[in-house]
Amino acid sequence: MTLALEVSGLAKRYGATHALRGVDLAVAEGELVGLLGPNGAGKSTLVKAACGLVRPSAGSVRVCGAPAGSPAARRTLGYLAELFRFPGWASAEELLRLHQRLAGSTGGVDERGELLRLVGLADASQRRVETMSKGMQQRLGIAQALVGNPRLLLLDEPTSALDPAGRRVVRDLLQELRRRKVAVLLNTHLLSEVERICDRVAIIDHGELLAAGRPDELARPSGVEVDTAGGTHRFDGATRDEVPAIIERLVAAGERIYEVRPVRSTLEDAYLAVVEGHHD
């Protein structure tokens, strides 16, 4: 099966600064992958390399089998930059029509209407960009990225300006895209979003891929907490299988058990452990 995105040994250097140092990453068709990392980790550079906006210093990037930056690759992807701006004088409808023409889309008015509906802007089709809030512009940006039915969507901080309702719209949209087998690489700082919707997570820092896997793999069980009459006992590292033995021991010791909770590390814990471990 052709991968939607295949990054092999990708390195990018800006003068003396190494933005990426040999990153390997794959995104399968229909897979939703979260890209995490601190500011300056190289996330945006990776996304830009996939779009063909920056030229790799070493390694390769392929989009749906075609070299990144080639017309064939660009025909299959949609992109929303972290820093983007659309012509303020254009209406939402005009902007999408422009991108339909550039993308060679034949979707016409139906596609434009469908995309605006998907991002919750169905009532704003004639509204000019300059009169929209930043959050509306960000949703319009996502609609723009979806013009032409891309097979890979590259979203760089797509929810940074959104309120909770807007984030929910985007979350629902991403799940809808997964149903439509559209692959998504989501670059974000919102770990809760990633934990909730992504199939896999990749953590990079200082241009290196530090960890990758399913969110529940990275956020491993980290212990058991037991509430007793004498207070809360924490058993770090204990697993679910050890819970009966723990209870037996406590009861034998005369404790009265009120509640037992397995403790899971959150993705945030896992993220901080990986990134801070890399800094040490």
Binding site: L53, L80, A81, F84, P87, W89, R101, L102, G104
Partner: protein, 284 residues
């Protein structure tokens, strides 16, 4: 080629919606009104003079000087328009995030540049054509003086504006919008100063000054086109009148020779190749 037209259309709509043209038309109408008034006053002042003992024709002198001035004004305004339509085309638009959503589409970077140049050239050429034709008509109607080769001169003026637009577009790949605008306007001013220096060199017969001016003309050929356009207006005016016109600050003493137009074509091709090559390798 469709994507070239899409980008050109986008740039044109940007100008229309931003009301650039409203400002330009208003200022040009003011310039035209002042020119008409000035021309009518000047021709009225010289109408009583006959051809003098030295053979000086005051009507021709007034007409050629006025039209030379109008050509300078037209070139300046056309160049400003071309610069403002292109100054932020690449780096400026990339810095604000306008460019990236367009470039990730299956649109080649050289087609993007071609679209931007097409839009700027179309606007600037249309503008120069209208203003220059109006100046010729006003000069002819108010003073009954018509230049010798108005079409050839006008074509050189148009080419000069296209050269300025191409230079501004090339500069936009390397410089931010403000730096590029200032840079190209300074280059434009330096080129015209070199032309004036050349006229002085011709009047004084100074080989060194002529060499400096000629070098500048080949490096910045919009200036050579402007001086050649001035020459075409009055090159056949005979006697003392012709000599005075040609040696004046708006005169046409300089003949760039038959290589000028081929050099302009080569210059534009070289600029396009340099732009496509550097933009193609630029990280955004």
């Amino acid at each position: 080629m469709t994507d070239v037209l899409v980008i050109a259309g986008l740039a044109l709509r940007e100008s229309l919606r931003r009301r650039v043209f409203v400002v330009v038309v208003a200022l040009t109408l003011a310039f035209g009104a002042l020119y008409t008034w000035g021309a009518s006053e000047l021709f009225s002042d010289v109408s009583g003079f006959g051809i003098g003992r030295l053979g000086l024709d005051p009507r021709t002198l007034a007409g050629a000087t006025l039209l030379g001035l109008a050509m300078f004004g037209t070139l300046f305004l056309g160049a400003v328009l071309a610069i403002f339509l292109t100054l932020s085309a690449v780096r400026g638009d990339a810095e604000t995030g306008l460019l990236q959503p367009l470039i990730v589409r299956p649109l080649s970077r050289s087609h993007y540049l071609a679209g931007r140049l097409l839009a700027a050239a179309a606007v600037a050429l249309g503008y120069v054509t209208i203003v220059y034709a109006a100046a010729v008509l006003v000069t002819g109607i108010t003073g009954h003086w018509w230049p010798e080769r108005p079409v050839a001169a006008g074509l050189r003026l148009m080419l000069a504006v296209v050269v300025v637009a191409a230079l501004s577009l090339l500069g936009s790949i390397f410089l931010s919008a403000t730096a590029n605008g200032i840079g190209v306007l300074m280059i434009f001013g330096a080129g015209l100063l070199a032309g004036l220096l050349g006229s002085i060199g011709d009047a004084l017969g100074s080989g060194t000054i002529q060499t400096i001016a000629n070098t500048a003309s080949w490096l910045l050929p919009f200036e050579a086109l402007y001086r050649d356009a001035l020459r075409l207006l009055v090159q056949d005016v005979p006697g003392v009148t012709g000599a005075i016109i040609q040696l004046g600050p708006l005169g046409g003493s300089h003949d760039a020779g038959p290589l000028l137009l081929p050099w302009i074509a080569a210059y534009l091709v070289l600029t396009a190749v340099a732009g496509a090559f550097t933009f193609g390798r630029r990280d955004l």
